[in-house]
Symmetry: C2
């Protein structure tokens, strides 16, 4: 029987609480589908700093290297906010993990279910019936890692420089991920750039158009990033798959997440090609929301984002498609049945108010 | 008596129509306050391309040089959309004007009046009572003009590079504009950066903190750009003045404008220090919205953004504060009285539906 190794990095804040529910779901699915799982639970983020002196301890990194995939919780909190940016839990854990494993493809579904449009900050009439966007963000190029980056005195003045670099092959591989995704969805790809200003965006646009030739069934639209920031608010339903470079993706995917209205429901995947030639990815899977220190330890956080992240892990890294589909279906089911954690509740009479564990129970029951 | 020279660049689409109303308002105010005005009307954008072969004709540029300020309409339209990005009306007119005059400070008020929250895409309960943000965008630095920028074969691969550079003095001068503005408002400045990733953002943040020492009455908050993109949607009322670098400002100011819900009401100013030592700026003033080719020529566009842009011109470039205040008051008045162009109308019984000219009439009557 198959046996998968998963590195489990629960992190800080609500991370451990929601992770606990995801692991219960994983157990249920491993019984149902007969695959084995070996977990390696490790410190990361603030917990890494407290236990091993840094946000990404060496032992944690080694466990990730030995794993088939990484299930990540969330990191950060007020305790570590005054450290230098480089050492803080979020930056200090996420950027090194992305760089070390070359996790170039960040997939963030932005789904607003029809039953939850009230939770979106956008007026109901603009999003009736909900929406379903997939944001594909390039994650290892651009300004994040471009060289040179320095600070020095130039003409007697303190000057700082960052570099936005893209090689064609970097754009090509993320484009392929996005086109493949669009092909399995509504066949519409919106590529976001700033080709009226940036040289790198001109290369981006050209490369998207080249790759598009291999996907004649997918309609491609180009949109400037400033316009995209507007269109997301005004009419999110116009998007199917959205693909963009690293920093634009950082901004737009967070804006999109906020517009969905339920950060506690949004998973994400950060992927690179797997070592075996089987179409699977190695990757790290984590909720889009943060560690929510204000509600940590109370057992009331919404575990759905963590459970859906597990679903993406099963799909993209393990190829356990049936199990992944079970999760997606079960989550929709419990929402339809009216189960609501505090972040989603409105007080409507047909709602069933639940805490973290009870939401976990409901999802396991619905699997 | 004083006589001001104003370069009038109406441009394309609805530009000429809304400009016409602004010039009528200007005439009324020049009579009331006894200043003279000499207008130099020039082609720009698509009109520049059609009449003189480029988006910013030499004659237009010379007229701007000879003027005390530039009143700009809007540029662009489907006719010129297939030109190379560099030659298109928007980019081909705006970037050279900014660069030529060193217009480093872009001021964009994002006001949602209490009577118009229904027009915002954000749920009414999140913006009850409206909101009033001033976005201060650095406009001549960063990725827009940074060197080197090139495209070349590196290791056999097509590669594109843009450079994000900031000198300390560039950050300092835009910070001062922002702090001065905050001091005249609610004394709260939110500085947006990506200091957890970018070297230039670390210099940005340090410089903001240094300049802050000269403005002890102003509270300073720092926010990462991804978070700012979320907070603008969730809770725009938390912002007073927002200051940020060029590209972040491009994205966030457009997102903010969309959230206001009435693009046709939002003016902007792009400023540099004036030549005389009188605290006034040289600048270019234009509506935040576009040329709206779909409604051009019908006489139904909202002229308020253009008229408020004139108000900013009177305030910042001419020092005609009383006249500028008259405009701001008159606009609020006509909105309170129920005057609505098509973009603002809801069909409520107390609304007075007007076209472009009638809105101009109403504002002149309310002056
Ligand atoms: C923590 C930070 C470096 C990171 C990023 O900017 O990529 C975060 O905002 C994210 O989007 O995962
Ligand atoms: C047309 C374009 C170059 C310009 C910019 O990016 O600055 C526009 O989007 C703006 O914000 O004025």
């Amino acid at each position: 029987a198959k046996n998968y190794k998963i590195a489990v990095l629960a992190g800080d804040g609500i991370g451990p609480e929601v992770m606990c529910e995801a692991l219960r779901v994983l157990e249920a699915l491993s019984l149902r589908y007969g695959f084995g799982v070996t977990l390696s639970e490790q410190y990361v983020g603030g917990a890494g700093i407290d236990h091993a002196g840094k946000a990404l301890p060496d032992e944690t990194l080694r466990a990730c290297e030995a794993a088939d995939a990484i299930l990540f919780g969330s990191v950060g909190g007020p305790k570590w906010e005054n450290l230098p940016p480089n050492e803080q839990p979020e930056r200090g854990a996420l950027l090194p993990l992305r760089k070390h494993f070359g996790l170039y493809a960040n997939l963030r579904p932005g789904i607003c279910l029809p039953a939850l449009t009230h939770a979106s900050p956008v007026k109901n009439e603009l999003i009736e019936g909900g929406f379903d966007i997939l944001c594909v963000r390039e994650l290892t190029g651009g300004l994040y890692f471009g060289q040179p980056r320095y600070r020095k005195e130039i003409d007697g003045e303190d000057t700082a420089v960052d570099t936005l670099v893209y090689r064609k092959s970097e754009i090509e591989r993320i484009a392929r991920v996005a086109f493949e995704a669009a092909r399995g969805r509504r066949n519409l790809l919106t590529s976001v750039d700033k080709a009226n200003v940036l040289t790198s965006s001109i290369l981006w646009r050209e490369t998207i158009l080249e790759v598009a030739k291999d996907y004649p069934e997918v309609e491609v639209r180009h949109m400037y990033v400033d316009n995209a920031a507007m269109q997301l608010v005004r009419n999110p339903q116009q998007f199917d798959v959205l693909v963009t470079e690293n920093l634009f993706g950082d901004i737009l995917s967070d804006e999109m997440a906020m517009i969905c209205g339920s950060l506690g429901m949004l998973p994400s995947a950060s992927l690179c090609q797997g070592s075996k030639d089987n179409g699977l990815f190695f990757g790290m899977y984590e909720p889009s929301g943060g560690s929510a220190p204000d509600i940590a330890g109370k057992g009331i956080a919404n575990p759905i984002a963590q459970i859906l992240s597990l679903g993406m892990l099963l799909r993209y890294s393990l190829g356990e498609t049936a199990a992944a589909n079970d999760i997606d279906r079960a989550v929709r089911r419990v929402i339809d049945l009216g189960y609501r954690t505090g972040d989603l509740a409105t007080g409507a009479p047909n709602e069933i108010r639940v805490n973290t564990a009870a939401m976990g129970d409901a999802i396991i029951a619905a699997l």
